[in-house]
């Protein structure tokens, strides 16, 4: 397993970072939470961020934090689908390569960051006003975010990106028409 600094990975896969931050912003907009500043991409750590008002409802906080998982995954599948299906018969053409690059980049950044996990921990789990059932939902989500972050050391994020951008559309197509 070889190591590449996170900043370089973020630069190479910058479309995914942009979509990740956009997803946070869109979920804030969905719940009518004011957003004060958005950095869609920068060559640093973190590669992007969204500053928003404190969220009073815990479920909204959880969904804002994990929003990129839904948005990035859906976009990766949609953008990669036709290119992935085209590669069943032929080697990918330039357009397919471009779309697969975009789809994999976006899929790679689907996992919420450790910063997102920290926000859920502070504002949901540590908040005495949060209902126990919400905490029970939040803790495994935080656990999964940490597993995703640790997994990125063994390229779990890249594996996930390839899986949702290339494999999932192909398997779905094959399951439908085989």
């Amino acid at each position: 397993m070889f190591f590449i600094p996170g900043v370089i990975i973020s630069v190479v896969t910058f479309p995914g970072v942009i979509v990740h931050e956009l997803a946070h912003q869109l979920f804030c907009r969905l719940f009518r939470i004011p957003v004060f500043e958005v950095c869609y991409f920068r060559a640093g750590n973190p590669a992007g961020y969204v500053l928003h008002e404190r969220v009073e409802r815990p479920y909204q906080q959880i969904l804002i934090a994990v929003g990129p998982w839904f948005v990035n995954t859906a976009l990766a599948v949609m953008i990669g689908a036709s290119a992935a299906v085209n590669t069943i018969v032929d080697d990918p053409g330039p357009l397919d390569v471009l779309l697969l690059y975009l789809a994999i980049s976006i899929g790679m950044h689907a996992f919420p960051s450790l910063g997102d996990a920290g926000v859920i921990w502070d504002s949901v789990v540590k908040n005495p006003a949060t209902a126990m059932r919400t905490k029970i939902v939040a803790v495994p989500i935080i656990g999964m975010i940490y597993i995703g972050a640790l997994g990125s050391f063994v390229w779990l994020d890249a594996i996930y990106g390839v899986a949702v951008a290339m494999r999932l559309p192909r398997y779905a197509f094959e399951a439908m028409f085989a």
């Binding site: 479309p15 942009i18 931050e21 956009l22 946070h24 912003q25 804030c28 907009r29 009518r32 939470i33 004011p34 957003v35 004060f36 958005v38 869609y40 973190p46 992007g48 961020y49 969204v50 500053l51 928003h52 008002e53 404190r54 969220v55 009073e56 804002i64 934090a65 949609m78 953008i79 689908a81 036709s82 290119a83 299906v85 085209n86 069943i88 018969v89 357009l95 397919d96 471009l98 779309l99 975009l102 960051s113 910063g115 997102d116 926000v119 504002s123 197509f173 094959e174 028409f177 085989a178």
Partner: protein, 347 residues
């Protein structure tokens, strides 16, 4: 990453410093500033790039849409081959290769499927395309080699033995003597099988098959499918239906759409008194390979067993007509006539 900012406590809206703040939210802002923060503009360049990516994705879908039927055909062929349904795979590959005649994987799969489905024209066409071309998939290449090797058992090379087989066409004893003179080794197998196909005398046929059946390493494993098929047919003739059924299952495990094995299973079913299963199997076998000799032979056996001699004779007449039409030898019609005559005598 998303972060929260701390509450700010001022008399007026801390953002615009003009309007009164609204205190019912964590951040004390005026309603106008709150609304504009909620709807914080997404930069125009992101919107344009996003629309561009969407347009590319749609373009890819439209371009790929033209290929969709052929992509579906290849996917169906792969799935059918995974299920060992080579007749279905052959049909799908025919569609696929009509638009991608040079496709490597498609042609290798066609070699395998056509060999199993006995579609020699398509097999030869695919072999011609693949001549001298590298096949990156080792497993597929191995399957193609095995499939073409099996086809080889059906095509003995021209030579003195083949000439003798043709010369002794009506001479059962000479054919048996010729078979007995052949060495008991792989190279003679094709000739031996060809002799078997020429014989139309049931007792002579059984005589040769009993000798060949001692070559169990071929006959019982399906490594030489033609021999396994002949052995199963012989076992049916001898009414050893359970043994024949085992061999049919060996063949059907290799190709679930093996019409010949299916026909013999039907023959086994009628022999064991199950006309319903026999009818279903023989119909399917006839649909898959209407011109197959073993299927035709099984149809006649089933018809005779059900005392439908008129139907059996009609099948025989069609075969004889076909032989005359193309000027072929009358081995098959003679064999069918012998089968019908033997049933008419015994039943």
């Amino acid at each position: 990453m998303s972060e929260e900012v701390a509450d700010v406590d001022t008399g007026r809206c801390p953002v615009c410093s003009v309007n009164d703040r609204c205190d019912q939210y964590p951040t004390p802002m005026c309603t106008a500033c709150r609304d504009s923060s909620i709807r914080l503009a997404i930069p125009r360049w992101i919107v344009i790039v996003g629309l561009g990516i969407g347009a590319l994705a749609i373009m890819s879908m439209v371009l790929g849409g033209y290929q969709l039927p052929t992509t579906m055909a290849l996917v169906r062929a792969r799935a059918a081959m995974d299920r060992h349904e080579y007749v279905t795979a052959h049909g799908a590959l025919r569609n696929f290769l009509s638009t991608h005649p040079d496709h490597t994987e498609g042609n290798v799969r066609m070699i395998i499927a056509a060999a199993h489905a006995f579609e020699m024209q398509d097999l030869m066409a695919a072999v011609k395309v693949m001549d001298g071309r590298a096949v990156p998939d080792d497993a597929l290449l191995r399957d193609a080699n095995i499939a073409t090797e099996q086809v080889g058992y059906y095509i003995p090379s021209e030579g003195p033995t083949t000439d003798s087989i043709k010369r002794y066409f009506d001479d059962v004893q000479s054919l048996i003597s010729l078979e007995e003179s052949l060495p008991f080794e792989d190279t003679a197998l094709s000739y031996r099988l060809d002799i078997l196909d020429r014989l139309h005398d049931l007792s002579a046929y059984d005589h040769v098959v009993r000798r060949i059946a001692t070559l169990d390493e071929y006959a019982n494993t399906g490594d030489c499918r033609r021999l396994t098929m002949i052995k199963a047919s012989s076992l049916c003739n001898l009414e050893r239906y359970d043994d024949a059924s085992v061999l049919c299952d060996v063949l059907l495990a290799i190709n679930r759409e093996d019409a010949r094995a299916m026909a013999m299973k039907a023959w086994v079913a009628i022999g064991k008194g199950d006309p319903g299963t026999a009818g279903t199997l023989i119909q399917r076998a006839h649909r898959l390979a209407p011109g197959s000799q073993i299927v035709t032979e099984a149809r006649v056996h089933i018809a005779c067993r059900q005392r439908s001699f008129d139907q059996a004779k009609a099948i025989h007449a069609v075969v004889r007509e076909g032989e005359r039409g193309i000027g072929a030898d009358d081995t098959m019609s003679r064999r069918l006539a012998a089968i019908i005559a033997s049933y008419e005598t015994t039943l």
